[in-house]
Structures are given as structure tokens and as C-alpha cells.
Amino acid sequence: MKHFLFILLAFVLLVSACDPYAQDEYEEYYVVESYLVANALLPEVRLSTTVPADAFYDFEEAAVNDANIEIQLLESGAESSVEQSWSYRYDAPGIYVPEVDHNVIPGRTYKLDITLPATSEKITSTTTVPEAFQIIGAVPDSIFYQATDQLEFTLSASSYPGRQNIYVFNAVSLRPFSANLTPFYSELIAESDEPEQDLEELANNSSGIINESGFEFNPDGSATVQYPWIGIAFFEDNLIVANTIDDNVYDFIRSQETQLGGSTLSPGEIQNIIYNIEGGIGVFGALASDTVQVYIKRPGS
């Protein structure tokens, strides 16, 4: 018996002492952020680095200021040659702006090309801009909050290579004061520990990712959308924005949102975000959007 227990103890110690799955050390990465919008001017590009999780974070301190940045229009897809390119210049810590204007072309593929002269490191990423679309047909100028007939609008047909369109909607309040909050959000703000910050975030209230298959399609390929009341945080003037997004933004958002829970992953089981960038992390994304303005009336007003 003693021999048996001794062998067992030795086995347990031997097996548990080996840890082939050790915790990694912190590693610094370059972080990119830029979003092309169909038919809009080329956007600014942010370039910074990560900081250790337990360190004070300040974007200006993390900013990378000595990079050479270009955005290139590719001829026909990610692996094709460059048709045209636009250089960027330093504007502010970590922020670069294009030297000349260019309207982003829907349906075309762009490449972000960053070189860091000090280290010769290179950061690249490509994105295909979603086809542009419009909010078509009549949209009411005003509507009563929580009226039986919801705010409804029609999106013209759009497409994205290889998959259905993926949308994000947002309502931008033009008068984001607490007195204008709708009842549900008013109660949330009343219980908030950070009311000012939350009020600012609610001023641009987004839906999260929605696949277009949930929409009602019309014979001409357009889709009718009924805007849910939960998306309206403020009474009075609101801009309702429909956005369709590329793969890079989609991958970033869907994986970033699981980092803090809410999915089927166990609490504390955190995964890196899905990146589509070579030589760094972050997002070089694209979207197409259209906007309508609606006045949300208080019930009984």
C-alpha cells in the first residue's frame, strides 16, 4: 500500500510540475485605425502602439509620429497592382491626414501601406469598400415616439462580395440634452455612475451588427427597414444613419464585443480580436452609409 501511494504521489508531482502552457509576456504592437466611407473623402489614419494593461493609457504618449503612410487604390482586388496612391502627412500626435483629397470609390479595393523609417517595419492592410446605397422613397419628417406605425424606410439594393450585406444603424441626436431623453434611457442615465459620459455616448446610439436577411425585401431588391424604438434615445431632431460594413470592420466589432463577455464563452475566457492587418493590429475598414433626418415627437405633444 505504501509503495502504491508513494508511486501515485510521485506521479502527481511529476505531472503537475510540468507546465508546457506558460503565460506569455506582454508584447508591444502597432495599432492602426482608419475607416473609408464610400463617396466620402479619404479619412485620417491613427497610428499608435499598445501599452501594458496595467499602465496608464494616453493616446498621445502611445502615438507613432514618424511613419510614412500611403493609401493605395488597387486595380482589381487585394493582390492586384496599385492604380493610384495618396500620401499622408503628420497632422497631430498619432494622426495622419491625406495630402490631397480623393473621394472613396464604392466597390473598389484600397490598401493601407505604412512604413516606419526608424525600424524598416511595414504595416499593410486591404479593404473592399461596400457598394453605395441610398435610403429611397418617402421618410416622414416627424413621428410620435412609440407610435404604432414605426419609422420605416427603404434601402436601395446593395452588395458585398461573397456574403450578404451587414448593417449597423445609428441615431445621432442633434439636441442630446438629458431633458430630451426618451423614458427608458432617462431612467438608465438617472442610475448611471457616469451620467455625462453615458449621455455623450447615447447621442450617437447604434444598433450593433444586423444581417440583411432580417429585412423585408421588395421585388426590386430594395429592403424595407422598420427602425426599432429602442434605437431612439432622444426626442426631437435625430439623424438616422444606415451603414453597411466591410469584412475588416465586421471582424473587428464582432470579436471586440466578445472580449468583455456576453457570448457563449466562459467568463474570463478572452480571445484576441480578429485582425486583418499585416505587421500590426487595429482596423483599416470601410463602409457605405446614407442618412435621413427625423423629428421624434413626444407622445401627446
Binding site: 508584447e27 493616446f59 466589432i253 467568463p267 474570463g268 478572452i270 480571445q271 493590429i281
Partner: protein, 755 residues
């Protein structure tokens, strides 16, 4: 591989034919409790002075075939019952039907607990454990005695947290354990979002856990089987009990009628007064929050060879939580099962059991936020016919064969803002057939080859599962065992370990292959000293084609069915040691588990710079390297009993956040997006977990109406604040990391009257 198993089966059948042609006698019958008439599972029968014997099956039936004519002394024994003996004389070709009533031992302090060898044998089969139903009630438990939380104390079984009754067995997630109630599948056996299991301890007769390497008579899950049998009901007299507890109260009643017995047990939460009180001073208290469950069974003994029973279970949880004036959350979920059982004795050697089962699981969460409703309708309907034949040609063989066929219907509708955003209705036919033989090749060797065939209609999947168990007994006190089995699973559970109220089951289909895995188990069961047991098992299991909902899909609308899954693999291995003291004033056990559990999914746990190519195996959150459980029962006096359980476990794995950054410019939000960089997933460990629970119970009388028991319990005696996970507060810079803790010290009291 399965040809080997078929060959062994064929040899077994051939060898049994040779001896069955002799002129011999046999004895068979049911073994029951003399006071209640309840059939006894795994009672031990034997003819003194011979090696002839048998144990009762799960219906309490035994057969001792191939007895040479003559006079014998038949003995029967069972844990907690007086031994039975009777002289019998058997003639050539005589088939003696002998139903036996065993008399329960009165409870006396110095009495040695009687346990039947057969019961120990059943418990000691490889990968198998039995949980004493009395122990379930005696163990200190959070507000309510619970079957699953008692099972979690066994080696190889882990809990995800203090808040979860889910069973994580030998590296498997809860959906890898088949839960059977009276042979009927139960799909979501939980109350209060997973805090409790649905099984009322008053209604239960027997709890059997097959942790791994389980035999061919079971199938459908990769990992393990938990088989629970409800009581048949008292066949002698009317009896009942009532228990008042802090969280729930329960009552049961049972009794005989002319042709059989019946049983009814109900349980309901009793939180309403507490919630009403809280509502006076605290905001955000649910307006409705309760659960109930009802178990019932009626038995009809048509004649000596035919018995029928009808059993049902219904359980439901309901929550209504208006958390602002313009927002409400409601949840309604539960299970219903119905089983109709027919036991038929063809002859003393051939026994059958046929059951028609129906199982329904429903789950209806409902949010209404600012006039925008979200509703989910999730239903599972499972109707099946199951039949098992048991044939005992002689004392060396026990053949079992059977089939299980049914229709499984799954329905899921997601409705957002009055429009259907996801709709799925899948109806599958499934069937399985098995054959196995328990072959006592010699006094020292027992072989149990078997094979199971499975069919699943969606995708036209046919799977073969060879199974084999071998036992060698070098001495009376040592049993060396080994087992191998192939297992398939056609369904998967979408769940979150923190909250099981929204559980949804999905099935394999065309393009979604069923998961499969192999299990290898080696073990030794020993009796080092009289009344002590020391067991050790080593296991290794693989998991292939695991399919689970892709956690990175925020909206699955419009996606092809196979695209909503991620497909992965895994493996687990470990050692379990179980040391128990079985009899005397002090009884209890000490269990130790050394375990490793790994998973891999494409793109998950990849290196940040090479995400497509470098998916790596990672330990699951419930992977705990060391796990020690100690349970002790001490009879202080004829009235007082003390029970304690202690658990120490390596902290669960978690992912340490290494770096951070912020994304500022997302066009559709003013919110700055905080993002993490991490290294390997789950490469760090939470602080070690430990907790001591104690219970005192006092037996007494409730006026002259019946016996009573007062239970005083203390959970987490020294209020160890075990960490569940870490939370990140981004309002602080640097980020503030807070530990989210599990249960603090909790007192509990209950009072039971038996009448």
C-alpha cells in the same frame, strides 16, 4: 475495430449455447423492500456454498439460471437491509419464481452497515459511481438538497462555479452527459438559471453515474451518463413527508392500491415573501420569480410476469423583471417528461423492458425594451420507443440487446420587433441498436464486449460504436479493470456557464458531422481493510468534430446552418483516486482528481500575428489541475448527526490581459472602444478554491404525527471569497481589475416531517 468486438460477442453466444442444453433448474424474481414494496436495484443473490449468484437489475429483477437439481440455501443481501436466507429444493427443469422482501435494518449506533457484494460490484464497475439518495439529503447544500451538487463531489466531476449545478465530467461540458429520468432524456435539468438541478430528492430512488467508458446499452453522448430512477411508491402503506426550507419547500406522498402503487412529489420555491419585503426598500426586484416541479408515478402490477408504470415529471421556472418603467424581462422555461414502461418476463432466462418516452423542453425569454420587443421560442420534442432484452442462458453470460428509436423535433424562432429574424424547425429520426454480453470467462476474468449502431436522419449519419470492458480479479480484494469505447453525439448545447436560462440545443445535419470520441479507462478497485475502499482510475478521451455555436457571430440570420458553428477538437486525461470508509459511526470519502482538459478551434487562441494558421490547444475554464473533496458523516448520538464536506481545487484557468489600446473613430458611435491584447487563452489561474460546509441534523417527533428532522447548515463556514472571474473597469486609468466573487458564508435551515 468493431469486428473484434463482434467476434467476442459471437464467441460468447456460442459458448452459452453449449451449456444451455443441460437439464438444469433456475430461480428468478423481484427483490423489494418489505416496508415499502420498492424494488431494490443491485441487490445481491447467491446460493450458499456455490459460486452461483446474481444481482437485481435496474427493475429489481434477478435470475440465477443453470442450477443443478438439489437443495440449497438462497441468501439475499442489500445495503441497509437484514440478510435473507431460505432453504430451497430444485428439481430438474424447475423454474422457481421467488419474489423476496428484504427487511430494513433499524438504525442503531453501533450497527455495522450491511452492504451487498453485488451492489459494491455495480458501484465498482469501471467508470461507475452511485450516489446514496440519503446522502443527497444529508449533505450541506445551498438552501436546497440537490442531486447534481452531490454528484459534483465525486472525483472526476467538477462544477463551473458556486452558482452552477452543471456537471463537467472528465473534461466534458454539461451537454456531453446524458441525463435520464426513468429512462427518459431530460434536456435542461436546472432551476434558477442553473443554480439547482430539477430533481426532487424526495422522489428519487437511485442515482447512477457512468463517468466514462460506459457500456453499449447507453449512447448518444460523448462523455457520460447520469441515470436517475424515481421511486415507485410505497406498496404497503400510505406514507409521505413535508419539508420546509428557506428557498423552497417540498412534499411527497405515496401509497398502495389494489394492483400496485403510486407516488407524487411536489416542490416549489417560496421566495415570494422575501421578494415582497425587498420590494419595499430596494429597487429592481423581480415581480415574479419562482420554480416548481412535480414528479408522479403509478404502477400497475398486471400479473407476476407483467408490470406497467406511468411516470411523469413537469418543472418550470418563471421570472418577470420590470427593471425600468419602460423595460421588462420575462423568462419561462422548463421540462416535461412522460414515460410509460412495460416490464415483461418471458421466462426465467429472458426478461424485457419496453418504454415509450416523451420529453419536452421549452424556453421562452422575452424582453421588451422601450417599446421594442424581443421574443424567443425554443422547443424540443423528443418522442421515442426503447426496448431492452436481457437474456441469461447460464451463470457465465448476461446478454443484453435493445433498440432506441425516436423522433426529435427542434424549433427555434427569434422575433425582434415583431419580425422573425431567425427561424428553424428541424425534425430528425434517430435509431440505435446495441448488443452486449457480460461474460464471466472464469472466476478471475470478466469480459463485456458490446457494439452499438446509431442512425441519425439529418445528414443520413450511421455510426458504429464498439465497446469493451475487461476485469481481472487477482484476489478477492483487488479488481483490475480496463475499458474502451467509441461514442458519438448528434446534438450540442448553446449555453453560458454563468447562466443556463437561455439554453438552446442544436443538432448535427448535412455539413455538420456528429461529434465523436474514444475513451480509454484503466482502473483498480481495492479493499485495503475491512469496510474501506480504495479505487484509482486513469482515463484518456478524445473529442473530434466538436460543433458549437460560433461565439463571434452577433447575428446568425441568413447564414447557412453549417456556418453558425465552429468545429473543433479536444482531449482530456487524468487520474481519480477515491478512498471511502463504508461502515460504522463515521462514514465518508476522500476523492482526489488530477485532470487535464484541452480544446482547439480554428482561429481561436491563435498567435496575434498569425491568426489564420496558429490555433492552439487551450485549457477550458473548468480545467482544474487538482481537485480534492472530503465528505464525512458522524453519528453523534441517536438523535444528532454531523455532516461536513470540504473542497479544495486549483484555481480555474482564465486569460490574463497583457496589453490594451483604444479605438476612437468608429463612425456610428461616440464610444471609445477599449481593446485588449492577450497571449495564450486561459494560461493563467485564479486563486485556489476552497470551501467548507457543515450540517447538523436532529431527529425527533412532530407531535404524534411522525418523525421529524431539523437540519442546520452553514455553507462556506470561514467565508472564503473564492474568485469566479475578473471584471475590468475602464472608467479607471489604468484599468481597475476587480475580482467577482462567489458565495460568502450562508446559513440554511430546513425542517422535515415524515408521516
Amino acid at each position: 475495430m468493431y469486428r473484434i468486438f463482434l467476434t467476442l460477442l459471437a464467441i460468447g453466444i456460442w459458448s452459452s449455447v453449449g451449456v444451455s442444453a443441460q437439464q438444469v433448474a433456475s430461480i428468478s424474481g423481484y427483490v423489494t423492500d418489505s416496508e415499502t414494496g420498492e424494488t431494490l436495484i443491485s441487490a445481491n443473490m447467491g446460493l450458499q456454498g456455490t459460486r452461483l449468484g446474481a444481482s437485481t437489475n435496474t427493475l429489481g429483477y434477478y435470475t440465477i439460471p443453470n442450477i443443478q437439481p438439489g437443495t440449497y440455501t438462497l441468501v439475499a443481501s442489500y445495503i441497509g437491509y437484514k440478510s435473507y436466507s431460505r432453504e430451497i429444493t430444485l428439481g430438474a427443469d424447475e423454474n422457481l419464481r421467488l419474489d423476496i422482501n428484504l427487511i430494513p435494518e433499524s438504525i442503531e449506533l453501533e450497527e455495522i452497515e450491511v452492504r451487498s457484494q453485488a451492489e459494491l460490484e455495480e458501484q465498482k464497475n469501471i467508470g461507475t459511481a452511485q450516489v446514496d439518495t440519503e446522502l443527497i439529503k444529508e449533505l450541506p447544500s445551498v438552501f436546497e438538497a440537490d442531486v447534481f451538487r452531490s454528484v459534483q463531489l465525486l472525483p472526476g466531476v467538477k462544477a463551473a462555479s458556486d452558482f452552477s449545478s452543471g456537471l463537467y465530467i472528465r473534461g466534458g461540458s454539461p451537454d456531453q452527459t446524458l441525463i435520464l429520468l426513468d429512462r427518459t432524456t431530460v434536456y435542461n435539468p436546472s432551476h434558477f438559471f442553473g443554480f439547482f438541478s430539477t430533481f426532487n430528492p424526495d422522489a428519487i430512488k437511485d442515482v447512477r453515474l457512468y463517468k466514462g467508458g460506459y457500456p453499449a446499452e447507453y449512447g448518444g453522448r460523448l462523455g457520460s451518463v447520469l441515470s436517475i430512477y424515481n421511486k415507485d411508491g410505497n406498496r404497503k402503506e400510505m406514507a409521505g413527508s413535508a419539508t420546509v426550507g428557506l428557498l423552497a419547500s417540498r412534499a411527497s406522498i405515496e401509497g398502495p392500491y389494489k394492483k400496485g402503487s403510486w407516488m407524487l412529489a411536489v416542490r416549489r420555491s417560496t421566495l415570494e415573501p422575501l421578494l415582497a419585503g425587498l420590494r419595499q426598500s430596494v429597487d429592481n426586484i423581480p415581480s415574479k420569480f419562482y420554480f416548481y416541479d412535480v414528479n408522479g408515478k403509478i404502477n400497475f402490477d398486471a400479473n407476476a410476469n407483467n408490470k406497467f408504470s406511468l411516470a411523469f415529471y413537469a418543472g418550470q421556472d418563471r421570472v418577470s423583471f420590470p427593471f425600468t418603467d419602460d423595460a421588462v424581462f420575462e423568462l419561462d422555461y422548463g421540462n416535461q417528461t412522460l414515460s410509460s414502461n412495460w416490464t415483461h418476463i418471458f421466462s426465467e432466462k429472458l426478461f424485457s423492458n419496453t418504454v415509450i418516452t416523451g420529453s419536452r423542453y421549452f424556453n421562452y425569454p422575452n424582453f421588451d425594451l422601450a417599446g421594442t420587443p424581443f421574443k424567443r421560442e425554443n422547443n424540443i420534442y423528443d418522442f421515442s420507443l426503447k426496448s431492452d432484452l436481457e437474456y441469461l442462458p447460464n451463470n457465465d453470460h448476461r446478454f443484453k440487446m435493445g433498440f432506441w428509436a425516436g423522433i426529435f423535433t427542434f424549433r427555434l424562432n427569434d422575433i425582434f420587433d415583431e419580425r422573425t429574424t431567425f427561424q428553424s424547425r428541424i425534425q430528425n429520426q434517430y435509431a440505435s441498436f446495441y448488443v452486449q454480453d457480460e461474460w464471466r470467462a472464469s472466476e478471475r476474468w470478466i469480459l463485456t464486449p458490446g457494439v452499438r449502431f446509431n442512425y441519425f436522419s439529418d445528414g443520413e449519419y450511421i455510426r458504429t460504436e464498439p465497446r469493451m470492458a475487461i476485469e481481472f480479479r487477482p484476489t478477492d480484494r483487488i479488481r483490475l479493470q480496463g475499458a474502451y469505447g467509441r461514442y458519438n453525439q448528434f446534438i450540442t448545447l448553446i449555453s453560458n456557464e454563468a447562466f443556463s436560462g437561455f439554453d438552446v440545443w442544436l443538432t448535427s445535419a448535412e455539413g455538420v458531422s456528429p461529434a465523436y470520441g474514444d475513451q480509454f479507462v484503466l482502473g483498480a478497485k481495492t479493499i485495503p481493510f475491512e469496510d474501506y475502499g480504495l479505487d484509482i482510475e486513469f482515463y484518456y478521451r478524445s473529442m473530434n468534430d466538436l460543433f458549437e455555436l460560433d461565439p463571434f457571430l452577433p447575428d446568425v440570420g441568413g447564414l447557412p446552418y453549417q456556418d453558425v458553428f465552429r468545429f473543433g477538437e479536444g482531449y482530456a486525461y487524468g487520474t481519480e483516486v477515491f478512498f471511502e470508509k463504508r461502515a460504522g459511526r463515521f462514514t465518508g470519502f476522500l476523492g482526489y482528481t488530477l485532470a487535464f482538459t484541452w480544446r482547439k478551434f480554428p482561429g481561436f487562441n491563435a498567435e496575434i500575428s498569425n491568426q489564420e494558421q496558429t490555433a492552439r490547444f487551450y485549457p477550458t475554464k473548468y480545467d482544474r489541475r487538482h481537485d480534492i473533496n472530503a465528505v464525512g458523516n458522524y453519528q453523534l448520538s441517536d438523535r444528532w448527526k454531523f455532516t461536513a464536506s470540504f473542497n479544495f481545487a486549483t484555481g480555474q484557468s482564465y486569460t490574463k490581459v497583457l496589453g490594451r489600446y483604444v479605438q476612437y473613430d468608429l463612425p456610428w458611435t461616440n464610444e471609445d472602444r477599449n481593446a485588449f491584447t492577450v497571449g495564450k487563452v486561459n494560461a493563467s489561474r485564479l486563486p485556489n478554491y476552497h470551501r467548507l460546509d457543515i450540517s447538523f441534523s436532529r431527529m425527533g417527533r412532530f407531535f404524534d404525527l411522525g418523525d421529524s428532522e431539523l437540519q442546520l447548515q452553514l455553507i462556506n463556514v470561514y467565508s472564503r471569497r473564492n474568485t469566479w472571474f475578473y471584471n475590468f473597469d475602464f472608467n479607471e486609468n489604468p484599468i481597475d481589475v476587480n475580482a467577482v466573487n462567489m458565495l460568502p458564508i450562508l446559513p440554511s435551515i430546513s425542517y422535515t416531517v415524515n408521516f
